[in-house]
């Protein structure tokens, strides 16, 4: 019964996966159809040839898929792709067939997808059911699997002949046939071994309960044998660099052969010894290594061929570009799709694949300044956080960029730098959406850039801009902070209990400086478990000698009774008076209002934003959902949330506190009601022209 249950589970998992891959393929197909239409007129024969040879392969791996673990299906997916790539590169070597290559690159995968998607699920389901039934009747299983594997091998044999029919130069053909013989030999060896092993494994599954030591040893031996075979095959394959296609065939075969092994082993992993697991792992590693090598080689060849085609420069260049791009989006799309099922519905619009993609898209020889790239990574990985810090870091990076900027000939300084700036910013904003402070700083920088005279000397302009940025940091952040610090200090009276939430450099400065000024007060730092910012704040305050308490946000209403003032930081002050703060700020303000405690928000005017937002749904940032998981808790329910389709984790970054909950906002200009934000913005526009 247990074995049956496991079978069913595995079937379910595999089934889900095949469904996903099918829909992905449908998408891909739609995409590729467009491009393939363009090259329709070109040799369709090739397409057909490829199609025939790919499709059975696809079915082949799908036949096995219901009992495969997920990672193997993934890898086999990759292999199909790899295969198409290799086909290309092979054909690429002969320049005559270059146009056809593109077609074949598009078509096989899409065609395979087409044939797979419709039948996949049904077939997979049938197979799994069959297997489940057969698991009950022990005797029949062995025969079934044997016949299946035999079928597979015969199919493979047919497949092998197909590629050789492809129009490749004859010399190559001969070469290939030679290697084909070798491969066939190896294959027969392998298939024997695998059939042997798999049949053993199947019997093991069914008799899992009365597994003897002998059985274990036998299976162990089988596995080692298979691993050895794989090794030998890969060694031989390595030797033959020219016959990429053929090798690819073998690769697929090895994987396919291995998969039943591993898949079945997983099911019986309970009754396994350590040694067995070890051997299994080793076999897996071998396969992965081989796949990697093949991929690398394929890449090399592809690069070579690309260079070649570029040298020739024929009208097919466009298609070439398409070809280069095509494999990338495929991979990305798959990832995105698999994640999207785990996203919270209300916040779908906030999910953007920021960080990794931007970095991946970055060309190696891009002319972005290293400081900008560094900042981008720092922003994405949340090394640089906090509104002020992000603004200063941005200006610092820009300063370096301006310093090292070399003006191309016949370009106006402002225009040239603007182009550079735009590229840098689009990269940075993709790494992490800009904060209000950053937007304002950039506005100011751009304003200064436009103020430069047309025939300005490069040196002078650079100096001016750098001075301007220094001035911005000094006036808008440093001096503003000082003014706010003094204003708030006057509001803190002796014996006060000041509550603050999260970490803000400004609040920290205010509290530190008022402590140094001799005001007797006690700070209550409120934090949450997920983010470490409040603890960082606490660390800094204690280092400054402020007497502090720390409470979790869940204890907020308890401590609020004894609080005299609530002092909050802000990421931005919106034009309708709402405060965009770290998530949890709203809660602190609400509890303060409930206890009639005045809420002060400290915010420099450089963080005032001309956006309007009434709730945190419209704009927000999705944080790392993994942060919600309690790492110290071994049995945390959230630990394997990705495998549970009914469980979503949502980690938001900001929330919006309405103006009605805030008693006053302290700026460097004055202490103002929140609703005065438009006045401040208007004032700043007239003052700084931004």
């Amino acid at each position: 019964m247990e074995g049956q249950h496991k079978l069913f589970n595995n079937y379910l998992r595999a089934h889900c996966k095949t469904k996903l891959t099918a829909s992905q393929r449908r998408r891909l197909r739609r995409k590729t159809l467009k491009s393939s239409k363009d090259c329709k007129s070109k040799d369709t024969e090739v397409c057909n040839g490829k199609k025939n040879h790919i499709v059975p392969n696809g079915e082949l791996y799908l036949n096995v898929s219901p009992i495969l673990p997920l990672n193997i299906i993934n890898s086999s997916n990759k292999i199909v792709e790899l295969n198409t790539k290799l086909c290309d590169t092979l054909n690429c070597s002969s320049p005559l067939t270059k146009n056809k290559i593109v077609v074949s690159n598009m078509e096989p995968s899409s065609e395979a997808g087409l044939s797979l998607k419709s039948r996949d699920d049904v077939k997979a389901a049938r197979e799994a059911k069959k297997l489940a039934k057969q698991a009950k009747k022990k005797g029949t299983t062995e025969i079934q699997t044997k016949s299946e594997t035999q079928k597979l091998t015969t199919q493979k044999g047919q497949d092998l002949k197909n590629p050789s029919v492809d129009e490749v130069d004859r010399a190559e053909k001969e070469n290939k046939e030679k290697s084909l013989h070798m491969i066939k030999e190896i294959k027969s060896k392998l298939s024997d071994a695998v059939v042997h092993a798999s049949s053993k494994d199947v019997s093991n599954v069914t008799v899992a309960e009365n597994l003897t030591v002998n059985d274990v040893v036998n299976t162990l031996k089988d596995i080692v044998n298979v691993a050895k075979n794989v090794e030998s095959v890969t060694a031989i394959v390595k030797a033959m660099d020219v016959q990429k296609q053929v090798k690819n065939e073998v690769k697929k075969q090895t994987i396919n052969e291995k998969t039943p092994d591993v898949g079945e082993k997983k099911m019986e992993s309970d009754g396994k010894s350590k040694a067995e697991l070890k051997a299994e792992r080793r076999a897996k590693q071998e396969a992965q290594r081989a796949a990697k090598q093949a991929q690398q080689q394929a890449k090399e060849v592809q690069q070579k061929s690309n260079v070649k085609t570029e040298q020739i420069k024929e009208p097919g260049k466009k298609e070439d570009v398409a070809k280069e791009k095509s494999p990338k989006p495929k991979l990305i799309e798959k990832k995105v799709k698999s994640q999207s099922s785990q996203k919270c519905n209300w916040f779908q619009h906030l999910h953007t694949e920021h960080d990794k993609e931007a970095l991946r898209d970055l060309a190696i020889n891009s002319n972005l300044h290293p400081a900008v790239i560094k900042l981008g990574v720092q922003l994405a990985s949340h090394v640089v956080t906090g509104s002020n810090a992000r603004c200063i870091a941005l200006l610092d990076a820009l300063k370096k960029m301006v310093r090292d900027y070399s003006l191309p000939a016949k370009t106006e300084f402002a225009r040239g730098l603007e182009a550079q700036l735009a590229a840098s910013l689009s990269f940075l904003w993709r790494m992490r959406a800009p904060s209000a402070s950053q937007v304002n700083a950039i506005k100011h920088f751009r304003h200064q850039l436009t103020q430069l005279p047309n025939n300005v000397d490069e040196f002078d302009a650079k100096k001016k801009l750098q001075e301007e940025m220094d001035r911005y940091i000094r006036e808008q952040i440093d001096m503003a902070g000082e003014a706010i610090s003094i204003a708030v200090r006057n509001k803190i009276s002796n014996g006060d209990n000041i509550l603050t939430y999260g970490c803000s450099s400004l609040i920290e400065r205010i509290l530190r400086e008022s402590h140094e000024a001799g005001v007797q007060y006690r700070a209550v730092v409120v934090g949450n478990r997920v983010s470490h910012s409040a603890r960082e704040m606490l660390r800094r305050l204690i280092a400054a000698g402020v007497s502090c308490s720390y409470v979790d946000i869940s204890a907020l209403s308890f401590v609020m009774k004894s609080i005299n003032k609530v002092l909050l930081g802000a990421n931005a002050l919106l034009v309708n008076g709402s405060v965009l703060g770290a998530v949890g700020t709203l809660q602190a303000a609400l509890v303060a209002r409930a206890h009639n405690v005045p809420v002060l928000v400290a915010c420099e005017t450089h963080k005032f934003s001309d956006r309007v937002q009434t709730d945190a749904f419209v704009y927000n940032e999705i944080g790392d959902p993994e942060a919600l998981i309690d790492k110290s808790d071994e049995n945390s329910l959230l630990k394997d949330w990705r495998s549970n389709p009914n469980l979503n984790l949502l980690n938001l970054t900001y929330d919006v506190t309405p103006a009605s909950l805030v008693t006053a906002v302290v700026t460097e200009l004055a202490i103002l009601p929140c609703t005065s934000a438009p006045v401040v913005l208007r004032f700043k526009t007239s003052e700084y022209g931004m």
């Binding site: 509001k491 009276s493 003032k565 005045p598 002060l600 008693t663 006053a664 004055a670 202490i671 103002l672 009601p673």
Partner: protein
Amino acid sequence: MKKEEVQEIFLKILREEEDVSVGVAAIKTLLTVIENYKVATVRELDLNLQLAVDAMRHCDQPVTAISSGCELFMRFITFAKLDVKSFEECEQIMLQRGRIFLDTLLEARGKVAKQSLPFISDGCKILTHSRSRVVLAAMLEAVKANKRFQVFVTYSSPDNSGKRMHKELVAAGIEATLILDSAVGYIMEQVDIVMIGAEGITESGGIINKIGTYCLAMSASELKRPVYVLTESFKFSRIYPLNQQDIPIEFKYLSSVIASGGFGEATPFSGLYTPCIHYSTLYRFGHFDTFRR
């Protein structure tokens, strides 16, 4: 220039002109300071004025109006272009502007009274607190316009300034009733509108007034009676109290009380800060424009 001299001038103005408010008296004092004490530089003048303001703050008069009035005056007279050749010319310009400012202030009360006329309807009952010159002017204006209405005036302890208000209203032929401070909640359901003055308006939109105003406003808000605050624009001051405790001490107590150090036990004389309880029920009149929130 001596501190005592300034205080003398200031108190003299307050004694001689019954009808003038503390803020206006302070501004008049500053004008005489500019006229009488000749100085050679703008810096000296500025120091002089600041000394004068400081002196007036210690005259045992409510500080709220003095500080806001003086602040506005200083800003207004220095707002002019002062890039003239000699200091005499500059002084003349300042004096001229000062007089313009004073004139507008003196007109202010009449303007507020006129503007508040539509809010006093025929046959309505009005509750007012303590004594306010603007409220009195508005009611006299309404009587002149042949409106019949009834007024309830609180005693407003500790100085019982409501008694004086009551006397003045009766003298003008208005039907007025004195009530206890503690009867505000009882009477509230009978009245139609609440009309009060203010010593100062804070940046947050609250008002600072004689003690008891906060209670009055809260009970009015609870019973949903409209509260009208009548005030001249020079009373708008640049403070932002977060709560009652956050109001500067000199605004709450007379300077003599502060000097004796006994304000811990003493009742604050001025009625503290009234935060706008419900913006919709709080109407306020400046003489330049009508603030409506």
